[in-house]
């Protein structure tokens, strides 16, 4: 069985990507780095969808469409997140997430 013809390969790759992204989300301070990590996580999800689409799904169009949808969502999310970052920077003069603690109880 070839490596690229196996579902598991893709799935493991996806979770590696996911874990890396998660690490980024948990460890990084910069909001932009956080955004980048989130993009990685989203891509991990996309890979999963595409892999399932390739190996399991009854109809090949569905997974692709979902992936496209995720891309659009990611784009929208990036746009919003970036604008928020810009606004936040204007307000707090930093994009360090550890400084944005206005909601502290």
């Amino acid at each position: 069985m070839l490596l690229f013809n196996q579902l598991e390969t893709y799935l493991y790759l996806a979770i590696v990507l996911f874990a890396i992204g998660l690490y980024g989300v948990l460890a990084r301070r910069s909001l932009i780095a956080l955004l980048i990590s989130v993009e990685l996580i989203l891509n991990a999800a996309s890979i999963n969808f595409m892999a399932f689409n390739r190996f399991l799904a009854p109809h090949p169009a569905v997974g692709q469409i979902i992936t496209l949808f995720i891309m659009a969502v990611a784009a929208a999310e990036a746009a919003i997140a970036l604008s928020i970052i810009v606004a936040l920077y204007r307000k707090l003069k930093t994009i360090n997430i550890e400084q944005a603690t206005e909601l502290r109880g």
Partner: protein, 673 residues
């Protein structure tokens, strides 16, 4: 069915006329003094006529009973009804007569008072309650009117409510009598639950025929006696009655000497068979009434306020009546002696008070030493009538008191233990002494009475003087309050009201005030000779009247002994004007402090009711109950605040926590598979 029966109509009118008078005055006419007075007078005159009509024409050998349903619950049935038998009709007459006379008298006494309308409303309320009490057929109905009488007493004692002592006395009277009434009420509850009926006739016949278990008789009799103790001011809850003298003097005459306080004794006669069926109860009554007699007589010896003297005299005479009744109950006698004394006492004590009222009205003081020095004896009619009344009180032939005291002492003599008789005689001696102390001081005023003036005790109602006449010599003005009793007199003097009576006194006594005095003096004179006929009326037959000369002689000598001692101490020229009791200063002080009964109750109230229970419960309420709830609330808020420290707003930590938990749970679940 009602309207065709004239007797029933009379009863209904008796109750509802004063009631409607009260309502009318209170709601509409209290601002219009004359109108209110007229309404009230109409509403008391008709019952008066009815009372005398019943007394003379109605044959009540067989009791006439009317009963209607007032309240029918399941087991509790309260009838509203009337019971006319000799006992109630005689009391009906007494109450209606004195009530009417006092209303007449009050026209003069209370004239010009700003609360004139309210005064007559309260008098009507009293008339309603007292008449209803007298002719009620059931004990519960009696209790209701009994409470209403207490209410009227409260309102009338505190009539001059601006004055602290008056409102305080009103409160005291209500609460103290209520204290006794609780016992009364409990007794009624026991009777309802274990006997089933509160009808007076039924209860009495059941007690006579021993249909009731003895424990119930004793329990309920003793509990009911608690109520009697409260209303008739028996030891140890007599303390309200002397204070009740804060009310207007006509009120004292009507409520606190002649009728209302006698209601207790009346109840004792009403339930005489019940009480007589229990020797225990009767012994308790006898002991308590004897203590009361001695206690109040001794206090009466040292009081300087004329109303206080008569108040303590009332307490002692009530004790005397109760003694007579209990002695009769123990020695298988009849209720006649006690009841007879009630009748005569009503007449002469009301007379005493009304006369004192004239003096108070005239001189603006309650202190009879001051009255004496200012020429009290110049008011002829009151002076004459007060002397008659005092003679009756002392028990001198031919006045009414002589006969009735004689009857009671006779009953006491039937007791196996002669100690009671001796104590009764001693009481009679003291009574004569304090009554004539007042009379002699008034009749033969001396230049100076320093002792009793400088040593007025703090609880006695020290005279205050705001009157036009200057203060007498040696008189110390020790009360900042304007004595309201002085008020009517003052205004009366200014307005010059009261002219046109045939009196040669410069200020004179208006006829509305002297007329009741004369009527009552008349009663005091003739009642003694009605003993036989009254006994026949009450008991159906006149018992053979054998006179025990030994007793007669000792009684009369006791009375004369008292008078003589009073003469020696107060009356004779060159008398020292100090009571014989002042040779024993400890005892005198003890009497002046009223046996420390007021102190005791004040202490009791402050320590137990206010101090322990009220304070502890309030503390509990604030700290424990409320505090507990608040603690729950605050701990909720606090724990929320504590938890909020986790909310550091460090998103990544929150997220990390979330991830760890989710992953941990996920792994745990998958490992299990």
């Amino acid at each position: 069915m009602g309207s065709c029966d004239p007797v029933l109509l009379g009863c209904l009118l008796t109750v509802f006329l004063p009631l409607s008078a009260f309502a009318l005055i209170m709601i509409f006419t209290w601002r219009y003094h004359k109108l209110s007075m007229a309404i009230s007078l109409v509403a008391s005159t008709i019952p008066l006529l009815i009372a005398w009509y019943f007394f003379f024409t109605l044959d009540v050998k067989q009791p006439i009973i009317y009963n209607f349903n007032w309240l029918v619950s399941d087991q509790v049935k309260v009838p509203f009804g009337f019971l006319l038998d000799p006992t109630s009709v005689l009391m009906f007459v007494i109450v209606a007569t004195i009530s009417w006379l006092v209303q007449i008298y009050s026209i003069g006494y209370m004239g010009g008072d700003p609360g004139f309308g309210r005064y007559y409303a309260d008098l009507s309320l009293f008339a309603l309650a007292m008449l209803g009490l007298v002719i009620s057929s059931g004990l519960l109905q009696l209790y209701i009117f009994w409470e209403l009488v207490g209410l009227a007493s409260y309102l009338l004692i505190g009539f001059w409510y601006e004055k602290f002592s008056a409102s305080e006395a009103g409160k005291k009277a209500f609460v103290v009598t209520r204290f006794g009434d609780i016992g009364f009420f409990m007794g009624l509850v026991f009777l309802t639950l274990y006997f089933g009926s509160l009808d007076i006739a039924t209860v009495n016949s059941a007690a006579l025929t021993a249909k009731m278990p003895p424990w119930l008789i004793t329990t309920s009799a003793l509990l009911i006696f608690c109520g009697i103790m409260g209303k008739s001011a028996q030891f140890p809850i007599h303390v309200w009655l002397p204070d009740a003298m804060e009310g207007p003097t006509p009120v004292s005459a009507l409520l606190h000497s002649a009728t209302m306080v006698a209601a207790g004794v009346f109840l004792l006669t009403r339930l005489f068979p019940l009480f007589a069926a229990s020797a225990t109860a009767m012994s308790v009554v006898l002991v308590i009434s004897t203590i009361t007699l001695l206690l109040s007589s001794t206090i009466g010896m040292v009081a300087t306020d004329i109303k206080q003297v008569w108040a303590y005299s009332t307490v002692s005479q009530l004790g005397f009546m109760a003694m007579g009744l209990s002695a009769a109950g123990l020695a298988a006698g009849t209720l006649f002696p006690g009841y007879y004394h009630l009748t005569t006492h009503a007449a002469f004590k009301a007379l005493l008070f009304l006369c004192s009222g004239v003096f108070i009205h005239h001189f603006g003081t309650n202190d009879f030493f001051v009255m004496a020095t200012q020429g009290g004896r110049k008011l002829l009619i009151p002076m004459a009538t007060i002397t008659i009344a005092a003679l009756a009180l002392a028990g001198i032939f031919p006045f009414a008191g002589f006969f009735s005291k004689e009857a009671i002492l006779g009953a006491l003599a039937h007791l196996p233990n002669k100690m009671w008789l001796v104590l009764g005689l001693f009481g009679a001696f003291l009574t004569a002494y304090y009554a004539f102390r007042v009379i002699f001081v008034m009749l033969f005023p001396k230049e100076k009475y320093d002792k009793y003036h400088l040593e007025t005790d703090p609880h006695a109602h020290a005279p205050a003087h705001s009157h036009g006449h200057g203060p007498g010599p040696g008189f110390t003005h020790d009360d900042a309050h304007i004595h309201p009793d002085a008020k009517p007199g003052h205004e009366h003097d200014e307005s010059g009201h009261g002219a046109g009576h045939g009196h040669d006194e410069p200020h004179g006594v208006p006829w509305v005030m002297s007329f009741p005095l004369l009527v009552l003096a008349g009663f005091t004179l003739i009642l003694g000779f009605c003993q036989g006929s009254l006994e026949k009326y009450l008991l159906g037959e006149s018992a053979p009247h054998h006179i025990e000369y030994g007793l007669l002689v000792s009684a009369v000598s006791c009375a004369f002994g008292g008078i003589a001692l009073a003469w020696f101490d107060w009356g004779r020229r060159g008398a020292k004007c100090v009571g014989f009791i002042s040779y024993v200063p400890v005892l005198e002080n003890f009497f002046i402090q009223k046996w420390y009964m007021d102190h005791f109750w004040r202490w009791f109230l402050n320590t137990f009711i206010y101090g322990i229970f009220s304070r502890a419960f309030t503390y509990n309420d604030r700290r424990v109950v409320d505090g507990g709830v608040d603690a729950v609330a605050f701990s909720t808020v606090g724990s929320g605040r504590l938890l909020s420290f986790i909310q550091t707003a460090f998103l990544q930590y929150n997220l990390l926590f979330m991830v760890l938990v989710l992953a941990g749970v996920g792994i745990y679940l998958l490992m299990g598979r």
